[in-house]
């Protein structure tokens, strides 16, 4: 096989391996090995303290998770609600914003891109601390504004009230990421050949007509990307919940990653946490595949 290859060429390929060593070390040691190890250990009774002593328990951890752990599934439902509602609001709002920005001059386009993207660059923990302050019952900006407008009866302890806590986290999350969704849509819209839009305008198609017949169908793949990113982001969300609500009041905003964290690093039941993490991983994967499938069908329908 190497016979037809020159010495120089062979030398290059060997150096190729040498250059890969550092990145492969990090990738294998801290990403791929842990992944395999997690799945493997989720079939054992490994607690994390009995470092090398564990025995196989088959699917017991999974059976227990499905039959004896309502707390986990409660968190899963909260997570799904969070992910889906956030995604729906963000996608619709982001699309409409992009549609509005599309007709602006390029100066305004740039302004809105840069401005609405600011929260995206901030760490979730900063956002959480900031909004905790804004949402505090007595001195928080939100309630102060409501009182100034004479809407005292709308004032709440936003994150402390079980009926509004989850909605509040969704609102804050949307506040942070709507600029990101908007920009992805705007890029897709700017990629639509202008002749298409111009000829439609020539034919007297109004904005609404253009929206339905061009912008929505021609940005379908971006919609799919947005939905996938937003759902995966929502299912993995941790810092925002941990620092904004701490999972409370009660368990009103306790999400799966929080349950996994507590099981693994507060209770030190590694085997249980690993089964949970694997289930979460599979659920996210299934959601992504479903979104892709739906997106694919939508696109073929359009064509």
């Amino acid at each position: 096989m190497a016979g037809s290859i020159t010495k120089v060429e062979r030398n290059r390929k060997l150096w190729g391996y040498v250059f890969l060593i550092p990145s492969l070390f990090f990738l294998v040691m801290f990403i791929l090995y842990p992944l395999v190890n997690s799945i493997f250990m989720s079939f054992t009774n490994w607690t994390g303290f009995n470092n090398d002593s564990y025995s196989f328990v088959g699917a017991k951890n999974y059976v227990d998770l499905f039959t004896k752990n309502p707390g986990f599934w409660n968190a899963m439902v909260i997570n799904l609600v969070f992910a889906f509602v956030s995604t729906a609001i963000q996608t619709v709002l982001g699309f409409l914003l992009a549609f509005c920005v599309y007709y602006m001059t390029s100066g305004w386009q740039r302004f809105y891109k840069v401005a609405l993207y600011i929260p995206v660059i901030l760490p979730a923990s900063v956002i959480a601390v900031m909004w905790r302050f804004m949402l505090s019952p007595d001195t928080g900006l939100v309630n102060v504004i409501l009182r100034t407008m004479g809407l005292d009866n709308l004032c709440r302890a936003w994150v402390g009230d079980p009926s509004t806590a989850l909605g509040t986290v969704i609102a804050v999350n949307t506040w942070q990421y709507v600029g990101f969704t908007m920009i992805l849509f705007l890029i897709a819209m700017l990629n639509i050949p202008t002749e298409v839009i111009e000829s439609a305008q020539m034919d007297g198609a109004g904005k609404f007509r253009q929206l339905l017949s061009f912008f929505i169908p021609l940005t379908a793949s971006t919609t799919e990307t947005n939905i996938i990113l937003s759902i995966t982001g929502g299912m993995k969300s941790f810092a925002l919940f941990y620092m904004l609500t701490g999972g409370g009041p009660g368990t009103a905003t306790t999400v799966v990653s929080m349950v996994i964290y507590n099981t693994a690093f507060v209770d030190f039941k590694f085997y249980r946490a690993l089964a949970m993490a694997t289930v979460l991983f599979v659920i996210i994967l299934v959601l992504v595949l479903i979104s892709r499938r739906i997106g694919h069908e939508a696109e073929t329908n359009i064509e």
């Binding site: 290059r12 060997l14 190729g16 250059f19 890969l20 990145s23 492969l24 990090f26 990738l27 040691m29 801290f30 990403i31 791929l32 090995y33 842990p34 997690s38 250990m41 994390g48 914003l97 549609f99 509005c100 920005v101 007709y103 602006m104 001059t105 809105y112 891109k113 840069v114 401005a115 993207y117 600011i118 929260p119 660059i121 760490p123 979730a124 923990s125 900063v126 601390v129 909004w131 905790r132 302050f133 804004m134 001195t139 900006l141 102060v144 506040w175 600029g179 990101f180 920009i183 992805l184 890029i187 839009i197 990113l229 941790f238 810092a239 941990y242 693994a264 690093f265 590694f270 993490a277």
Partner: protein
Amino acid sequence: MKKRLSIQNILSQILLVFLAVIVIYPLLFVFMTSFKSNFDVITHPFTINTFEPDNYVQAWEIGRIGKYFVNSVLITFVTLAIQLVIIVLASYSLGKLKPWGTGFLTILYLSGLFVTSEMITVPNFTTMRNWGISGTRLALVLPYVANGIAMATFIMTNYVRQMPKELDEAALMDGCGLFQNLTRITVPLMTPVLATCLIFNFQGVWSEFYWALIQIRDENLKTLPLGLMNFQSQFNTDYGILCAGLAISIIPVLLVYLKCSSQFIGGMTAGAVKG
């Protein structure tokens, strides 16, 4: 395309201004509050009648925001420096040297993109314990380096592969070996895209919370996202100081962002489209 002034344009401009205000005003509000006394915050929420820059001193020293900030800068800098070197080497290898099995190796790197942090924290936790580095800065840096590799290598490899072949051939004629090709041709050409990738990774490292929460117990080693948690409980009702701490956490990154916003946006959106 001609952009005309119409009722619809005015309406959408109003909607956008309204949303921009909702996005930006809270940040300005935090900034304004950071200079106010507590009494002023409660009595005059919307205006500023006191000026207390001392809030910043309090947040920086007593609130330890300064310490957290320096820790975050250190961790981020070291992580990105290591990533810079290994991503350059990996993408040069996979994009140009193409060792046997490049296809398989590319898929191996790609598979790193789908791993969730919950799936890897427990084994990484034990690895750190076995190596005796639990709770140290090194225990943060090693997995952080690993987290940024998959995406950046993927994007950079594609970029390196598409570099014009003529350059390599001309360089070879001039007696340029594979090391000179790397330092004189490949690296200079890859710099802009690499910068975008590193800015994308910067955001990941700078914001990271979950792994830091698991690893770091020592107050002196906490990063900014983690430290903010203590800071908040310490100054929960000292609004001026709380906001000063937030302003310190926000402003440096904001300034860098405003200076090179297109790299920030480009990195995130490129990642989104590829991922």
